[in-house]
Symmetry: C2
Subunit: 376 residues, 2 copies
């Protein structure tokens, strides 16, 4: 078990693009919002059915954390949905006069733009708010201090690229690709092992932080059991992005900015685990029961409302850019961004049918876990 | 009583200068640090003697808040001193095996540079940390959730310049000055009334947030009873700054940037209350007992270690600039800053004997209040 100090250094930072510009996360996270809205009913039902609110003393403040909150506004919608459900639960239990106070902790990496986040906190919010900087693969909160932990579109980010994948002498060296799709088995295994290690650490930290009877709600793109890596939507996107990068490198041979060697040393720290992989991790951890596990189907899809394939492709490209730009800039150079995402957008348009058919399998999962009443 | 939402809008923001440049707060707050160090023993003794640690359940996380924390590093020294004293207290009580977990809340205005603060959090800290944006003249935390509230060099900042002082039709209009020293009685009264209103609001919010038996430690420049406003060190400084501004305006007549009219409309939202004024506010609030009230005398003075009067004058000028630059920039223009603080530095040097003799009366106060066990 790593010391607290070591644990703090775990987890590389991949902040979403801040500000409110064309490629900003706040303007390019509405596809995630469709999914958060799709999860609203499940989250509400899970809280009403499973949150052991009578276990908490009546004077207890209900503490909710959003892990990987980014800069808003999605986090505010998600938190509002949760608090609404808790109030409903209190009313159902006849606790009309005892609606608790709420404290919401917004967590993300230290390099997240908390200044932006704080500047757009809803003025009429019904909760006390706090920002908590640090990797959620380490401890962030005191023992048993949280009642609901929520995280959407965050736990697919690994704490780091698996070491072996960057090691030229390893059979898992991922030459010519930036991701594990269509790579050697050793690469896939290295990614899967890193995810298992990270998920174990994530669950271990949360098991200490969540009060008995509290809930954890995880929303993330997860590969449905039985669907091969290469046919999963999120994976197809990253595979195409890798293709575009490698294509740029080949065309730019001897010209500098993007060399093939540099692409060889670049890998995305993202893994899309399967439902089974999550279940296995929860079982190994032993502190949580799985209350629900459901695929999310958007009620209304902003993407579908766009008329042309070109517009849809561009919207996806902007979304991937808002999430990945910082990472790519750090390894390559800011100069390559426009060209790379232009060519990515074209590639998406050309192969849109692939994306569309992958989307039909409902790539996003909502898992609701409950902290068992036991020392573990 | 204002609604929660109205309360949130109370309090103008006057963030200290961020970054690590020549005029930054982090490089120009070592005079405050001398005082924080001077308070260490008093704070330690007060915690050991007065904190009702046995009232808190043994599994309780001890929650500490620093109100007006700025961007560091002073806040980290202050928090470390407090946690050390709590650990000592636990050991004294024979609670060796039950050293509690700590959670430290760093509060300042929303416009404070929390990104900077988070980036310099001590890596080997023994507490979970959170940033809380908002004015401390409103509610910031859940009921009874804090055990120690600390605030240094912050409560002398008013929530706003008193309205009357900016009203040309009022007898309290403060023409030709930026502060209440050597102003009409009506101006002094308007400032004093604003301070009383703000302090009442501050104590009311904290009375709700601090657990029974918890402590509040306030360190701030306070005018000793019996010393006239015009002879108090902090007041002398601001009076000189006002003189320099007015002098610039007169010299620049018809030349633009600093007009006398603009100076007339500029006032500092700062009031140095007296010991008696604090005592009266605590008495009116009724929820706190005063455990200690002591003047702070620095053990080692970084200012005294500077050899020449010029260096000392410049150090003070830099400190005032780190605190006031944002405010002056917002009303006038960035262009005036260098000239203004140059002339301020010269003025300080010329009249250094005044500053020196005012400093002898130990201008900073440490007040330790304890939350009474009663509904109030």
């Amino acid at each position: 078990m790593a010391s607290e100090k070591e644990m703090r250094n775990i987890g590389e930072a991949h902040p979403m693009k801040s500000g409110d510009g064309l490629y900003s996360y706040s303007n390019n996270s509405y596809l995630q919002r469709d999914i958060i809205n799709a999860a609203k009913q499940i989250v509400g039902e899970a809280i009403v059915e499973s949150l052991d609110i009578l276990k908490f003393s009546p004077s207890t403040t209900i503490r909710v954390a959003d892990l990987g909150c980014s800069v808003g506004p999605n986090t505010f919608f998600a938190m509002e949905n949760i608090l609404e459900a808790i109030e409903l639960k209190c009313q159902n239990q006849g606790l009309h006069s005892q609606i608790p106070e709420f404290q919401v902790f917004f967590n993300d990496h230290t390099s997240n733009d908390f200044n932006s986040l704080f500047s757009v906190l809803p003025p009429n919010r019904r909760y006390h708010s706090a920002g908590v900087p640090g990797s959620f693969y380490s401890r962030l909160f005191p023992n048993h201090s949280l009642h609901i932990v929520y995280s959407s579109f965050s736990i697919q980010w690994l704490s780091r690229v698996p070491k072996k994948v960057e090691d030229m002498s390893s059979p898992a060296w991922n030459k010519g690709r930036i991701y594990y799709v269509s790579a050697a088995d050793e690469v896939v295994e290295a990614y899967s092992a890193q995810c298992a290690e990270d998920t174990a650490r994530f669950l271990q930290a949360r098991a200490q932080e969540i009060a008995d009877g509290g809930l954890m709600i995880l929303i993330f793109p997860a590969r449905p059991d039985g669907i091969p890596h290469s046919q999963f939507g999120g994976n197809i996107l990253f595979d195409m992005l890798g293709f575009c990068l490698m294509d740029m490198a080949k065309k730019a041979r001897n010209m500098g900015i993007v060399s093939e060697e540099k692409v060889d040393m670049f890998n995305l720290p993202v893994y899309h685990m399967s439902d089974q992989e999550l279940e296995a991790a929860v079982e190994r951890n032993r502190c949580f029961s799985i209350e629900r596990m459901e695929r999310l189907r958007p009620i209304s899809s902003t993407l579908q409302s766009l008329v042309s394939t070109r517009d849809r492709a561009q919207a996806i490209s902007f979304h991937v850019r808002a999430a990945m730009e910082g990472l790519i800039k750090a390894h390559f150079d800011e100069e390559i961004l426009d060209q790379l995402f232009d060519s990515f957008s074209k590639k998406l348009e050309q192969e849109y049918s692939l994306i569309e058919s992958a989307g039909r399998s409902a790539p996003n999962l909502c898992a609701v876990l409950k902290r068992k009443t036991m020392n573990c």
